[in-house]
Every structure is written in C-alpha cells, then in structure tokens.
C-alpha cells in the first residue's frame, strides 16, 4: 500500500470551480478574487505570485480550507473540499505557514510525529508503520542530522524544513505552503524551493506555494499562478506567463523594469548618456552593471562625442570621452567618478 495515493480517477489533485475568495462579515461578503478556475495535476509544483495585498494568502487559505470560500467550490481529488471531515482533509492536504512555531523542548522527530495525527488512534499512539513514515519524511527533506535537535534552537530555515517533513508525514496528495520562505535567508530560500521541487518530482505529490521571491519562483515552478491587479489570474509555465507580459503588468513600477530574457528586475535610474565597454570576462560584465546602475545606456562603439568609453581589465579601469580621462582600480571609485561626472555636467547646464 502506497500512502501517497496516485490519482486513479483521473481527477486533478485540485480544481476550483468559479471560486470567489475574500472576507465575510455579518452583513456582507467582500470578494478579493472572483471566478477563479484553476487546476493542479499530480506532481506539479505551482508557485502563486502577485503583488502584496492582492489576495495570495486569502486564496491559499481558502484552498487549504483555513477559511471558507465565498462562492464556488474547491475539489480535492474530485471530492468537494467542504464534504471532507477534518481528519480526511488532513490525510490529503498538508500545510506549511509563514508563522514561526513557538514551542520549547521538542525534538524535531517528535514534532514530525505530530504529522501522524490524522492517522493515529484517539490516544495518539504510533505504530511501526507510523514510525517508518516519520523516518521517511525526515529523510525526504534531508533532515536526518536535525532529527534529535530541539526545534526551538534551530535556524528558521531548518525549522521550516522540519515543518515540511511534518506535513509530509500526513502523507498528503497536496502540499500547500503560504510564504514559507518569508523569514529565510537567501540560501535557505533556494534550498527550500529546491526541496519542494524534488518532492513534486516524485510524481504523485502536488505542491502549491505562495511566495514573494519572484525570480526564484520563475526558475523553479512547473506552473505559475499570477494574480494581477484587478483580479485577473494568469496561469501557465513561467515562460508562458513572462511572455504574456503579466509579470510586467503585476510588478513593474516607476523605478523598476522586468527584463524577460534575464527573468529579473532592473532599476530605472534615468538616462545619462551612453557608454561603450572594452574588455572581456567578468570585469567587463561588472563594469556594465556599474554603468547601468548609474543610468548609462550601453553601446558597442562610442556613437556620439558625449559617449563615454570605458576600458576594463583585471587590474583596473580607464574612462575617457566627454571631457573625462580617469583611471582607477575599484568599481567603487568608478561609480564615484560617474556620479561626479553627472554632477559636474549638471552644474555646467545650470551655468549656461
């Protein structure tokens, strides 16, 4: 008996039908998102993206039945979410949240054993099979070295890893994570996303994770759900979503631009002229980054008299053109000179 049940019915792991999520008070229902129709297939890693306050958390919480849907329905493996008992749901759906668990004097293995809750009897005694599943979950998240450590003394990244193992111990078909990387440092974020990707690669477990980490999500996800201002949802492979222009619509502001080829954002620092870089390798790439940050457009050859020409090598840089003729050996000094240049040009304009 394999506990992660492959979908035998052909139903997707998760499907929403004209779902509306939001808040209800005594008098009224205020929808944050409406007419949401989404599906998740077994083995998919779905990243939920969108600007702050657009309803990512609300949607995630509704999908995990942590808050009721306003209208419409969520189906888990073809069964309406509302019709599942609390423990039936816990056997199919595991959850990891942003919040730090504040528990003292508990070893990781003990905490992960709590994930057997929906499978164990009313006194919570664990069978050999329960212990097997717990050991498997510890192994699956690569937490063998953490198993006997006190959870309270772990780093945030280690603790989230343990929380994922606990959710796995429920043997769910779907893992729902609400910004699990919010408190983590960059390496831990990458590791956690890598872990989720590996878990979903097993083929039967589907994962939905909401995150602010756009670039990491675009690199890792099988499917992206992008929430747009106005309540539209764009779905597809990361590349489909990029191509649709959705990322730019959702995130671009007055000062940043999304660069599809690099799947990343750049500052818009203004137009201070053009510059050409001579040199190669990493120093040239770094020099280009400095020019770009200081607001210069990059050209292959100096096109006008005002164009700067920058030569870089392993030992330093030399800047010429636009009345400048300077050298230095750090990019910090280069950046400082570029800023000074802009300032003196600005002064000249004021004088004339």
């Amino acid at each position: 008996m394999n506990a992660i049940r492959p979908s035998t019915t052909g139903d997707p792991t998760l499907r929403t039908r004209d779902l509306a999520v939001g808040y209800r008070s005594r008098r009224q229902r205020r929808a944050v998102l409406e007419r949401v129709n989404l599906t998740v297939e077994p083995g998919e890693l779905v990243c939920l993206l969108g600007p702050n306050g657009i309803g990512k958390s609300t949607l995630i919480r509704t999908l995990a039945r942590m808050q009721p849907a306003l209208w419409g329905a969520v189906e888990l493996g073809g069964t309406a979410l509302d019709s599942l008992s609390t423990s039936d749901l816990a056997r199919r759906l595991g959850v990891v949240l942003t919040e730090r668990v504040a528990v003292e004097s508990m070893r990781a293995r003990q905490l992960i054993e709590l994930g057997r809750y929906p499978h164990s009897g009313w006194l919570g005694g664990l069978t050999d099979r329960d212990h097997e599943v717990v050991s498997w979950a510890i192994d699956a998240v690569g937490a063998n070295h953490l198993a006997d450590r006190d959870v309270a003394r772990m780093s945030d990244g280690e603790r989230q890893r343990v929380m994922v193992a606990r959710a796995l111990a429920q043997e769910p078909v779907l893992l729902v994570l609400d910004e699990p990387t919010a408190f983590l440092d960059v390496p831990s974020r990458v590791e956690l996303m890598g872990l989720l990707r590996r878990l979903s690669r097993g083929g039967s477990l589907a994962v939905i994770v909401s995150t602010h980490d756009l670039e990491l999500a675009l690199r890792t996800a099988d499917v992206v759900w992008l929430l747009l201002p106005g309540g539209d949802v764009v779905t597809g492979a990361p590349e489909d979503v990029i191509l649709s222009g959705g990322i730019a619509t959702a995130f671009e502001g007055r000062h940043i631009r999304f660069h599809p080829e690099e799947r990343s954002f750049r500052w818009l620092t203004g137009d201070r002229g053009t510059a050409a870089v001579r040199g190669d390798g990493l120093p040239a790439a770094m020099a280009k980054a400095v020019l770009e940050r200081e607001g210069y457009g990059l050209v292959v050859e100096p096109v006008t008299a005002e164009s700067l020409s920058l030569t870089v090598s392993e030992v330093g840089w030399h800047l010429s053109g636009e009345g400048a003729d300077m050298s230095g050996d750090t990019f910090r000094s280069l950046a400082a000179h570029l800023r000074g240049l802009t300032q003196s040009n600005h002064d000249k304009e004021i004088e004339s």
Binding site: E99, L123, E132, W136, A152, R198
Partner: protein
C-alpha cells in the same frame, strides 16, 4: 536524499532509532523518582502533625494489620488520611489544569484560574458570608440539613460556574485565544470588584471568616466529602489524559493543529471546561490555592526537558500530589500547635524552587 525517497515506505519494518532510548530512559527515571517522592510525601503527611506518629504505625494503620484502636490510629484514619488524599488530589488537579491552560493559550503565565474561576468562587463565598450573612445561611442550612461550610462549597462552586459559563458563552464567539484570556481576566476583575464592595460594607467578624476561606486548607474535606471530591477531580484528570494527542498538536498553534486534523474549537472548549472545572472544584472544597497550578507544569517541563503531554500528564499528577502534600505538612508546623495559611506555604516553598529550575534550564517553557 534521493528521488526514491519521495513516497513513504510501503512495507512495515521495525527499526526504531536507538537514540530514543536515552530520552525514554530519562523520562522513566524521572517518573520513577516522582512516584517514590509522592509515596514518601504521602507517608510523611500521615506521620507528621500536632502529634507525630511513627511511620511503622502509619503503615500498620493503612494496611489494617493492626487491630489496636488507639488515639494514633484514629488520628491517622479519621483526620490525616482524608486530608492527605485531598491534598494529593487537589495538587494533581491544579497541576493538570495549569498544564492544560498553559498549552491551550500557549502562555507560560496561564493557570487554572486565568478565566476568572477563583474570583467567581470568591464572589460566591463572599455573597454568602458577607452579603446575606451567616444567620440566613445557617437558617437555610438548617432547613436543608447542610452545615455552614457545606453551604460555602455550594456558594463557591456556583460562583465559579457562573463565571465559567459566561466565559465559555462569550469565547465560543471569539476566535483569538488571547482575547479569551483577556475576557477571563476582565470577568475576574469584575467579580473581585463586587467582592471589594461587599467587603467595604461588612463587619470585622464576617471579614475574618472570608479571610479564613482565602487562606486555603485541605482539612475541610472529610471522608464524606471525598466521595464527591475524589470522583470529580479524577474525572477531570482522566479527561486531560484522554486529550494528550490534541494538546500535543495544539503546541504548534491553532492553524497547524487544524491542518493536522484537530477539531480546534471543540478541543479548546473541552479543555477550558475541564481545566476550569478542576480549578472550580478544588477552590470550592479547599479555598483558592495559589501557585500550584502555575508552578507544577513548569517544574515538570524543567525536570523532563520535554513538552510531550504523554509524559507531562503523569509527571504533573505525581509532582502536583507530592508538592501539595509537602506544603500541607509544612503548613501544620509539625510538633507544634501552630498553623500557617496553606496559600502562604505553597508560594513560599514553591517560588524559590521554580526560580531555581527556570534559571538552571536557562529557558522558559515557551519561546519568547
């Protein structure tokens, strides 16, 4: 970590890690030590008092191996045995109730009376003692065949239940546990305020009687009353023991508990009801016993280094009983005729112990 590891083991095989052994050993050792301590404290509480009875004689009386009915046998059987059983049960009950409340509210300062239970009991007692006056009470008691202090028990438990009822009704509409805790505090303050008003208009003799009740005592529970007191407290403790699974899951917070299949609302109401009933029953029979409810769980966590309720519940029962018995012995000032208020003793011997345990383990029961 491999791809194969992405589905759980399908075949059963018995391979428990040996590293569990060290923790299990420590837990077993502590539990054995606590049991021994409890037995010792129980015997001491029967032996020591205004007149000391040799331990050997106490054991003879306990097991009925002595047929001689001297004064010592009567003292042990009729006075000390019910008193010690009461102390044991009350200590265990308060410890368990404190453990439940601290876990439920994830607050190291929570205790059985956090929901205003003891204030409610005080209000009930104050109304009987100060408000209507004991003459009315005595008349009422005489007509119903109850003595005055039986009426006090009735008054305390009515007051406690009234406050508990209010808190449960209001908190079933409130999602946030902290709000429930604040509500309980507010109900408690309100009850205390009414008591203060009553105190302000009362005569000194009646105030003395109220103060007496406030000292706390295990001596008022006779064999007859134990027939009610024992089943109630034991039922409450068993109820907590039956809910260790939920309590463990609640350690991770309501959201995680719910996601793992805990019916959080039901578990919360049941736990609040169970813990408060324990607090109310003990308060009604023994007066408002301070300190044990908050200290016993901390002592046990510190000793065991775990927050697993499957271990903590038996440990708290043993520790609670033992500490209450010791406090009882000390309050009698063995060998003298004097008596210290029980409440003063529990706090005086307990507080330094808790401080020592907390400082030694260098962390509290809950992360900040």
């Amino acid at each position: 970590m491999t791809i194969q590891a992405t589905s759980p083991p399908a075949v059963e095989s018995a391979s428990r890690g040996e590293r569990h052994a060290t923790y299990a050993t420590r837990e077993a050792l502590v539990l054995c030590g606590l049991t021994a301590g409890l037995v010792l404290a129980f015997l001491l509480s029967l032996a020591l008092g205004s007149t000391n009875v040799p331990i050997g004689r106490v054991i003879e009386v306990l097991f009925g191996t002595s047929t001689e009915r001297d004064g010592a046998a009567v003292v042990v059987e009729a006075i000390r045995l019910p008193r010690s059983l009461t102390a044991l049960l009350a200590g265990a009950a308060l410890g368990i109730a404190g453990l439940q409340m601290q876990t439920l509210f994830r607050n190291p300062l929570a205790d059985p009376f956090s929901l205003g239970i003891s204030s409610g009991a005080s209000l009930g007692v104050a109304i009987v003692v100060l408000g209507s006056g004991m003459s009315v009470a005595a008349a009422f008691g005489a007509s119903t065949g109850l003595r005055g202090d039986a009426l006090l028990i009735g008054a305390a438990i009515s007051g406690a239940l009234a406050v508990l009822g209010l808190v449960l009704i209001v908190s079933s509409r409130v999602a946030n546990p902290t709000t429930v805790l604040i509500l309980g505090l507010m109900f408690g303050y309100t009850a205390s305020a009414i008591v203060t008003v009553l105190v302000g208009v009362s005569s000194p003799e009646r105030l003395m009687q109220l103060a007496q009740w406030g000292f706390g005592s295990f001596s008022g529970v006779t064999w007859q009353r134990l027939r009610l007191f024992a089943p109630l407290t034991i039922a409450g403790v068993l109820m907590a023991a039956a809910m260790t699974k939920q309590l463990n899951a609640l350690l991770l917070g309501d959201n995680y508990a719910r996601s793992m299949g805990v019916a959080v609302r039901r578990a919360r109401l049941l736990t609040m009801f169970g813990a408060s009933m324990l607090g109310a029953v003990v308060t009604a029979f023994c007066g408002p016993i301070a300190f044990l409810g908050i200290a016993i769980p901390h002592l046990c966590r510190g000793l065991l280094g775990t927050s697993n309720h499957r271990v903590l519940v038996p440990a708290v029962v043993l520790m609670g009983g033992a500490v209450a018995l010791v406090a009882q012995v000390v309050s009698l000032l063995p060998g003298s005729a004097g008596i210290l208020p029980l409440n003063a003793v529990t706090s005086m011997i307990g507080a330094p112990v808790v401080v020592a345990v907390l400082l030694r383990s260098r962390r509290g029961a809950f992360a900040a």
